[in-house]
């Protein structure tokens, strides 16, 4: 039996500490991990729980992130609760096995503390790693602050381990801005947290020898397509489970989560769509814009995968001009998030104007003023009835202004 960990009703935790506490409370059976900035403290904190008897599970410190996810896959198929954490290059090294984990339908929880991808080497936060995982078949949830990193980590187990889902889940938080910023966090008691998450009930347990299982079989053109389609369907079908788990979490915590978080969108004329800590910055900017008489709002996917196409569409369809913010180098195209939001808005009657801002790469600060400038651009577009700038712009970049892609409307 694990030692009792004393918790206050209100704790001051950074995002990393919040995530590691959720791992402890969920009574993870195996954590196989490898340290990398800025997610290292999640692994270190867990190591401290192990050293002081606060957890009962096995802590396997492996020799690389690839091995970490490989050991997680082996452990998860062996029927218990599994979690780990990583960032950036470590995430990139894991990618091969991320696809294997989802293909084998293993409910592993991965805390991703978002960080830029080299080169140039950079330890600060952007969403390049998060985007790298977007086709990997995992559920991806996005925390905007420490409290949410804790809450969503608990929800992640309950969603992924649900028998109608059986998929791995990533919980993202922004490197340093969330992971290393101490904030008020209201944890559940250990008992309430574990009651909420519940016991894992394994499917296709490798340690149940009365029913041998083969994991990781080969399929070629005869069956591969059917398997991948089924996997995609499982992701799409996870939506009601995610909503149920959020509703249940509200009952035990009083905190309400939705697949898309809308802020002052009821009457909004212009909107920012963003991920991570930028959501809160943009909300402050929206308030300031409203003081100036501009009806600004903010839309943010809480669940990035499965992509909330319908909810994004419904939240934005009556807006005149929308800015989609991508915190990842677009690599010769529109930002990936821009493309997804635009696709949703193309299906509406109103078809709002949609522009793309690349910002904050490698941890470049994104301030309220930056968000206000973007809102001002949207107001100009809304008034003109067409996009008045290049469709893709760079916000917060030094040197000459960069812009790409032109509109044919207006």
């Amino acid at each position: 039996m694990a030692e009792k960990f004393d918790l206050q009703e209100r704790e001051v935790w950074d995002g990393n500490y919040a995530a590691s506490q959720a791992m402890r409370q969920a009574k993870v059976d195996v954590m196989a991990a490898y340290p990398i900035t800025p997610s290292t403290p999640i692994v270190e904190n867990y190591g401290a729980y192990v050293a002081n008897g606060y957890v009962d599970g096995e802590f396997v410190m492996v020799e690389s992130e690839h091995a970490a996810m490989s050991a997680c896959v082996g452990a998860s198929a062996a029927g218990g609760r599994v979690a780990t954490a990583t960032s950036s290059q470590g995430f990139a090294l894991m990618v091969e096995v991320l696809y294997q984990a989802s293909g084998m339908r293993l409910p592993i929880v991965l805390n991703v503390v978002n960080r830029a991808l080299a080169s140039p080497l950079n330890v600060r936060g952007d969403h390049a790693d998060m985007y790298l995982g977007r086709d990997s078949g995992w559920i991806q949830m996005d925390a905007f602050n420490s409290q949410e990193a804790y809450d969503l980590a608990l929800c992640a187990f309950k969603i992924g381990e649900n028998h109608s889902v059986r998929l791995p889940v990533m919980v993202h938080q922004d490197g340093f801005i969330t992971s290393h910023t101490a904030q008020n966090v209201y944890p559940l008691t250990d008992e309430a947290a574990y009651n909420f998450v519940g016991e894992i009930d394994p499917v296709d347990d490798m340690l149940d020898f009365s029913r041998p299982v083969t994991y990781g079989a080969q399929t070629e053109e005869d069956w591969h397509f059917e398997h991948k389609a089924k996997q995609h369907k499982a992701l799409m079908d996870s939506v009601p489970v995610i909503e149920d788990v959020f509703a249940e979490f509200e009952k035990v915590s009083g905190r309400k989560y939705k697949r898309v978080e809308s802020y002052m969108m009821e009457d909004a004329e212009v909107a920012i769509v963003a991920l991570g800590t930028t959501v809160e910055t943009s909300r402050v900017a929206a308030l300031r814009m409203r003081e100036q008489g501009i009806k600004a709002g903010v839309v943010a996917p809480r669940v990035f995968r499965p992509f909330p196409f319908d909810e994004i569409r419904d939240a934005l369809e009556n807006v005149k001009s929308v800015a989609v913010l991508d915190r990842s180098s677009p690599g010769g195209a529109m930002g990936a998030f821009y493309n997804e939001v635009s696709a949703a808005l193309y299906t509406t009657e109103n078809r709002p104007l949609v522009t793309n801002y690349i910002y904050g790469l490698g941890g470049r600060d994104f301030a309220v003023k930056d968000a206000m400038d973007i809102f001002a651009d949207q107001k100009a577009n809304a008034d003109a009835g067409h996009i008045t700038t290049d469709i893709q712009q760079f916000s917060g970049l030094r040197g000459p202004k960069l812009g790409f892609f032109k509109t044919k409307r207006g």
């Binding site: 340690l207 020898f209 398997h227």
Partner: protein
């Protein structure tokens, strides 16, 4: 642990059938003999992980499986990590009492070819051994990337021709020495390391049993002649293995706790290496006059290695 008797080959070959005969390995491939020996030498429950390679692609093509036990394949390089993860979960669940059967003994075994063991999966293997997981890693060493059509690996010996180290007018095939994986794994301080061969089936089964019984990470390199890439008649697999062990190209020995070396097979008549080389198409070019020096080098290497093994056995250090 429940040990199956290894006295009678006929009995032993069907002792504990958990590896189905229905698979798509080449006729004459030694992999299935080695795997069957492992699976038959114990009555304990087995979790088997397998790196990408001939064994994996020939035994688990959906909707079929040859494995009548828990089996997992992830990637080319990570069967050792998967076994380690599963073993950690076994320990965690045993402690919590959440296993279906909390008392039945479970053994963890990882298989890899020489490509995944010597080359691409070496880091994962080394890491798992350093961490001390209680599992047995068995390398099916056929000295090339046979699954992808016979490319050189760091297990390919000097002088063999492969598709990426070809013999030609300007080349006698692979120029580099085979990596000494047994010594490397022994240097990890593993409690049991051995090199075994399927022609010596009793010592192979005993070695497997010793590895399964020993707590901690154990490594066994098995000689697995590959009729397709070594170029010999499929019916000759065991006689080729006899030549491999009788020329001392593949000496059979074990190393306990990283230092105590025991030679497990001493040929009554040590044969010259030409007999082994001449029996395989991959060495055919070595018999041209201009390549005579390569055969001499191979023989010299064998002699030196055998001398080293004997001295180490004697020294007990």
């Amino acid at each position: 642990m429940a040990i199956t008797s290894v006295k009678n080959l006929k009995e032993f070959s069907t002792a504990n059938d958990r590896f189905e005969g229905a698979h798509t390995l080449c006729p004459g491939c030694a992999h299935s003999m080695i795997v069957r020996e492992l699976m038959n030498c114990t009555d304990d429950n087995l979790v088997v992980t397998t790196n990408t390679g001939c064994l994996e692609v020939s035994t688990a093509v959906y909707p079929f499986t040859s494995w009548d036990t828990s089996w997992m394949h992830i990637g080319f390089e990570n069967a050792a990590s998967a076994a380690g993860g599963a073993e950690a979960m076994y320990k965690a669940r045993k402690k919590k009492g959440t296993l279906k059967d909390n008392d039945a003994p479970v053994k963890f075994v990882a298989f890899g070819g020489d490509g995944s063991t010597f080359d691409i999966g070496f880091q994962w293997l080394s890491g798992a051994f350093e961490r001390g997981h209680d599992f047995t890693y068995i390398c099916l060493d056929n000295e090339n990337y046979a699954n992808t059509g016979g490319q050189r690996s760091s297990a390919t010996p000097i002088g063999a021709t492969t598709s990426t180290a070809q013999a030609g007018t300007h080349s006698y095939g692979k120029k580099e020495k085979k990596k000494d994986i047994v010594a490397i794994m022994a240097a990890h301080g593993a409690p049991y390391v051995a090199q075994l061969a399927p022609n010596k089936w009793k010592s192979m089964a005993k070695g497997f049993q010793k590895a399964l019984e020993t707590e901690g990470p154990c490594f066994i390199n098995t000689v697995s002649p590959c009729c397709t890439e070594w170029r010999f008649d499929p019916k000759d697999t065991i006689s080729i293995t006899d030549l491999a062990t009788d020329t001392l190209m593949f000496p059979i020995y074990e190393i306990i706790d990283g230092h105590e070396l025991n030679i497990l097979y001493r040929p009554k008549n040590v044969l010259p290496v030409e007999e082994y080389l001449a029996a395989q198409g991959r060495y055919k070019h070595l018999f041209k006059p201009e390549n005579k020096h390569v055969i001499e080098e191979i023989q010299k290497n064998i002699n030196e290695y055998w001398e080293m093994l004997q001295r180490r056995e004697e020294a007990r250090v």
